[in-house]
Amino acid sequence: MIDIKTSLAEKTYKNLLEAVKDNNWTCERHDDELKINYGVNGDFMHMNFRILVDKDTDTVRLFSYLPVQFDESKRTQGALVTSAANYSLSDGRFEYDVKDGSVFFKMTASYRMSIISVEALVYMLNYSAWAVDKFQSDFAKVNGGSLSVSEFAKKYNK
C-alpha cells in the first residue's frame, strides 16, 4: 500500500507535469525522481531550472544556477546586491556563496497534507523565471563594473 506521503508527492508531481505542459519550454523529465529540468529563454539570457517534489520534506523545490559568478575582487559586492535583490522579492531567494561567488535562485512551496494546485505550480514557474530574468543581467553588470552597488540598491529598493 502506498503511504500518504508518497501518494501526495505523486499527485503533486502529476500537477507539476500539467503545469509545465502549456509552456514552450524544453523539458527533461526524471519521473522516478519526481524531477523536471527545463530551460526558458528570458529577455536577456537563457535560463536553466530544476523543479522537484521532495517527499522527505513535503515541499516542491525549484532551483536555478545563474551563469554569473562574482569575481574574487567583487565578492562583497555580490553579497550586497544578492541581499538587495532578496529584500525586494515577495517570494523565492538568491542564494550566494561568499566563498566562490556563485549564485542560485531557489523557491519552495510546502504541501504537508495538502495538494498544491496546477495554478500554484504555474505561479512558481512564472515567478521564478521573472525573478531570474529580472536580476541576472544586473548581477553581471555589477560584476563587470558597469553598475555600482548603490545604483543597484536604489533601482530595487522597495
Binding site: D54, D91, S110
Partner: protein, 161 residues
C-alpha cells in the same frame, strides 16, 4: 484567476490559519479584512514579533520576523553574514536592505487555487521561529562586533537548523 476567486481562497486559508494558531495556543491579533496576523512576543513563547500576511495579488502567504538593523559602518559585513546564513536553507531567507541596514526573516508559500492544511501553516510558523531563534544572536553579533569577514563566515557558518 479572478480577484473574487483569489479572495475566496484567501478567506478559507486565513480561517484555517487562525484555527491552527488557536489549536497551538498562540495569542495573536487579526486583521480579517486585510488578511494579516500579528503575534506579539509579550503573550507568546517567543521573544520577537511575528507577522503573517496574505498577498491576494500573488496568492502567497508570508511569515515575516524582524531580526536586526546593521550599523552604517557594518553594512558590508552584514551582507556577508546574511548570505552565509541563507546558504542551503530548504525554505525562507534573511532579507537585508543594505541602504537602511534592516534585516528581516521571510518565509513564503503559495496558496493559488489551493486549500492549505494546518500542517503547512504549522511548518511555516515553527520553521521560521526555529531559524530565527538559531541565527538571530549570531547575526546581531556579526553586525555589532568588530569581526573580520572570515570571523563572520566562521561564526554564522557553524549554526545548524
Amino acid at each position: 484567476m479572478s480577484e473574487k476567486t483569489s479572495v475566496k481562497f484567501a478567506k478559507k486559508n486565513f480561517k484555517t490559519l487562525c484555527k491552527t494558531l488557536d489549536q497551538n495556543k498562540w495569542k495573536y491579533e487579526k486583521d480579517k479584512k486585510n488578511f494579516k496576523i500579528n503575534i506579539d512576543p509579550d503573550f507568546n513563547d517567543v521573544d520577537f514579533n511575528v507577522r503573517i500576511s496574505f498577498n491576494t495579488g500573488l496568492e502567497i502567504i508570508s511569515v515575516y520576523i524582524p531580526v536586526s538593523t546593521a550599523p552604517r559602518d557594518r553594512r558590508e559585513i552584514a551582507a556577508i553574514a546574511v548570505s552565509v546564513a541563507n546558504y542551503d536553507f530548504i525554505a525562507g531567507s534573511f532579507d537585508y536592505n543594505c541602504m537602511s541596514g534592516n534585516i528581516i526573516f521571510r518565509m513564503t508559500s503559495t496558496y493559488a487555487d489551493s486549500l492549505l492544511s494546518a500542517k503547512v501553516f504549522e511548518y511555516l510558523l515553527n520553521q521560521s521561529c526555529k531559524i530565527v531563534k538559531n541565527y538571530r544572536s549570531k547575526i546581531r553579533e556579526a553586525c555589532e562586533k568588530n569581526l573580520s569577514e572570515d570571523g563572520v563566515i566562521k561564526l554564522i557558518g557553524g549554526v545548524n537548523v
